[in-house]
Symmetry: C2
Amino acid sequence: MCQRPQIPAQDLDLLVSDIFRSVKLSGDEALLKYAKLFDGYNGPSLEISQDEIDAAAQQVPDALQDAIRLAASNIERFHSSQVVEFPKVETAKGVVCWQESRAIESVGLYIPGGSAPLFSTVLMLGIPAKIAGCSQVILCTPCDKNGFVDPAILFAAKLVGITRIFRLGGIQAIAAMTFGSQSVPTVVKIFGPGNQYVNAAKKKATDFGVAIDLPAGPSEVLVIADSSAVPEFIAADLLSQAEHGSDSQVVLVTTDRAVAEKTLKAINNQIRDLPRREIAEKALAASRFIVMDSLENCFAFSNEYAPEHLILSVSEPQKWVGKIVSAGSVFLGNWSCESAGDYASGTNHTLPTAGFAKNYSGVSVDSFVKKISFQQISKSGLQQIGPAIEVMAEAESLIAHKNAVTIRLKALQND
Amino acid sequence: MCQRPQIPAQDLDLLVSDIFRSVKLSGDEALLKYAKLFDGYNGPSLEISQDEIDAAAQQVPDALQDAIRLAASNIERFHSSQVVEFPKVETAKGVVCWQESRAIESVGLYIPGGSAPLFSTVLMLGIPAKIAGCSQVILCTPCDKNGFVDPAILFAAKLVGITRIFRLGGIQAIAAMTFGSQSVPTVVKIFGPGNQYVNAAKKKATDFGVAIDLPAGPSEVLVIADSSAVPEFIAADLLSQAEHGSDSQVVLVTTDRAVAEKTLKAINNQIRDLPRREIAEKALAASRFIVMDSLENCFAFSNEYAPEHLILSVSEPQKWVGKIVSAGSVFLGNWSCESAGDYASGTNHTLPTAGFAKNYSGVSVDSFVKKISFQQISKSGLQQIGPAIEVMAEAESLIAHKNAVTIRLKALQND
């Protein structure tokens, strides 16, 4: 029951390898060729100018500008709380160890274009990058045949301080950030969602030493409901996940069969007027309603399923927080709808899908830093731990490791 | 100058795919076949019994037991400081968001056997796993033809609370942990160093949804030295890195040509009696001594090189900590030798190599947990942020996302 819909595994490896080779070899020339081929854009410029970015704001309605600002402020507030200062620890007398975070210097954000301009993802990736202090943050997003990018994307990018934006979509965008070109700087970590082409390209990028945010998979939600749940709310939440894509999965696990039945009815009502009804219907066809005999079992199932989004439509949801082992983002109670987390509560919406909540975290400020260990050992500190190092190094047959201590301990004896 | 020695990229993909397929299909039967083929071990049992583990301690000399206990205590003290409690943040009135860490439930540690029994790595992986609270920690390590594993490995495993240890090496060990078998449980994250076979297998494991600790690469050290450095100490540190493998790289960057010359002399002296002299000589052949005109430039070069280990043999090393952008583990001053971090200072020795210090962290307690986001939104909280969500969802053409808010706001109006 934890199985996700099987996506026909199209082997894109040849196509991805071809485009990567071509971009590595020919840089901008190849990128412009693919922009023409795939997006119908006939050049001349890959980079969107500062004037174009500035002008975009004027095309974004005031209400949307305000909404984006409110969301950005909440996201910034929450992600700022993720910045951690580690203590210095004296592990043995004279041996002081600590960690410090450093921003990953150059990162690339991929924002899909197509039917829905995901400006919310610009906030979700750009804000933690800014808080982490990444010195170079670039953004790639596909343009239309006239070279236009949705103004809301440009507005959101400007709001979070991203100044370098490229008209690049698909595999070629990922290749450009992997190798760099005349126009596009190289990055060492690539973030962002995408279709199967983009995901195959991100996996290929790791062959060249580039890190990526998360392995790919279709989006999903699991709702745990008891008799206190509101079926109309559950239906709306399930549909908001189902409209993402036909490979999305929505799961309801409940202790109350009546809730399941009422939710099904509510879905049938609410789905009628949805513009993305066809997509939602396909997703629902591969989805499940499960009735369990206890909330304990609902949570056990959820932990095994490891959902990207987990909604707790139960009375006293706080009581169950400690039982949650694997999930991406959790929504407590009837008023915490999933779309709040998608846009404006402040949490990140770039989350582990497809069961990856068992072994991966969603995007946070952590995703934009690396942690360096430091140790400062005094003379007496080395006298404390040196003999143990000598014994262990010798037992591992690493005599030069031992010598590095021995030569210092001898120098101290002669001190 | 940041180039690492090129390892002839042997294509192991076919071999790895074969063994993975066979282990997935035939489980223990395949594992026992490969144990015989590659390790000469003719069964019957893949798992090492508790009696064998208990007996091992009696074969480990007291001095080594004490050294391992001291190292374990320092490692535990430092890694305990990495446990983070995140605050709850009210991002908007009535909207509370927070993160909580959860242990990755089932993890696998790979410990190479061969010439050097790396019991130190058992501590470096087992201790953070224990602190994180992983409920299942298994260990795979190759045995000799009689089924024996170095007793120090078993002793260290017992000390850190690992109870399930398997006689499994190489590709088949990684395949076993990926798919599970009759004897071996499945894990969702695999840790540990290995040769090219193990590393190719770890990469393959990620195709099946298993996470891994770090991408692979040969070990390296970079020493920054000014005229306060002690050439004999630098030589010993460079050699302790060079003896790891012929593909290791050691780099000295100094503002003082005399230090470079004296270090070279000291290396020629110290290398004579090393048991692993041949390996060290090969590594030194691909290594570099660089004289720079200022310490600023030394640090700029180091950040570009992004060394796994960075030794600061300079006066006032603390002054330079803030300038370090990319490194795995940093050793401050003349008495902080790299082998201290390899064994007993308390920091972890599983670190990013090959320039991966630019975009990856070394192993820490973080590597054994995932972080879950939570949000609890009150009625008034949803009234605060709901309208912004509606505007944004509509602008992204995700009407079901909007509806999930609208239906709730309407219910509140009627409240």
